[in-house]
């Protein structure tokens, strides 16, 4: 079974500071990893995804994430945050079972609220 743990429920930072939102996952076989952002009263928007290949993935709005298979982590980073990055961020995992059948569904972490202060 898949599971996702986001290690920080809230992360406060000042504008223009770097930020890292941590995500660990567990899955028995191949995984696909995603980061979504949710602004207040809106649906989820995809920031970036890891499917295969390079372990460093670049997404929208200057965000990037690194897939680390040995540590089963997929941490999200941004070198300099803006006030408009204030939102809730969700890490999610999908994948295939041992027989190669696609799950299709996403399993989400609990979310990390990023608050950027001026």
């Amino acid at each position: 079974a898949q599971s996702v743990t986001q290690l920080d429920s809230q992360v406060p930072v000042f504008e223009e500071a770097p930020v890292e939102l941590r995500c660990n996952y567990s899955s028995s076989v191949s995984v696909y990893l995603f980061w979504y952002v949710q602004y207040p009263n809106q649906g989820l928007q995809l920031l970036l995804k890891y499917l295969s290949g390079s372990t460093l993935v670049k997404g929208i709005n200057g965000f990037e994430a690194e897939f680390n298979k040995s540590q089963t982590s997929f941490h999200l980073r941004k070198p300099s945050v803006h006030i408009s990055d204030t939102a809730e961020y969700f890490c999610a995992v999908s994948g295939n079972d041992a027989g190669g059948t696609s799950y299709g569904k996403l399993t989400f972490g609990q979310g990390t609220i990023l608050t950027v202060h001026p």
């Binding site: 996702v4 696909y32 979504y36 009263n41 809106q42 649906g43 989820l44 928007q45 995809l46 995804k49 499917l51 969700f90 999610a92 999908s94 994948g95 295939n96 696609s102 799950y103 299709g104 569904k105 996403l106 399993t107 989400f108 972490g109 609990q110 979310g111």
Partner: protein, 115 residues
């Protein structure tokens, strides 16, 4: 390209009443998902459709929740009767095909409050 549409955006009901939510996915998307997002938690899949067939409804409380996608396009999710613990945001998402790597596009959600 129009996104995933959901209605209503907000709904307040008394416990034991019934409620229905509607979702229209992105045109051409074969797979449709309903998620429940309780305050302070990540979304949890309730049901997944591939065209008009159910792929996964293992986490749907079938004694009170039902969902259909009769023509393989739009979908409705119903709760009857509602309980206090059903208060949540109900998100609809769609993807082009079923495989795990297909990006899911989310609608704005319906916020349900059960009093």
């Amino acid at each position: 390209e129009a996104g995933v549409a959901q209605s209503p955006r907000y709904k307040i009901i008394e416990k034991r009443q019934s409620v229905a939510f509607w979702c229209n996915p992105i045109s051409g998307h074969a797979t449709l998902y309903w998620y429940q997002q309780i305050l302070g938690q990540g979304p949890k899949l309730l049901i997944q459709f591939q065209n008009n067939g159910v792929v996964d409804d293992s986490q749907l409380p079938k004694d009170r929740f039902s969902a259909e996608r009769l023509k393989g396009v739009d979908s409705t999710l119903k709760i009857q009767p509602a309980k206090l613990e059903d208060s949540a945001v109900y998100l609809c998402a769609s993807s082009l095909r079923r495989p795990s790597y297909n990006e899911q596009f989310f609608g704005p959600g319906t916020r349900l409050t059960v009093l």
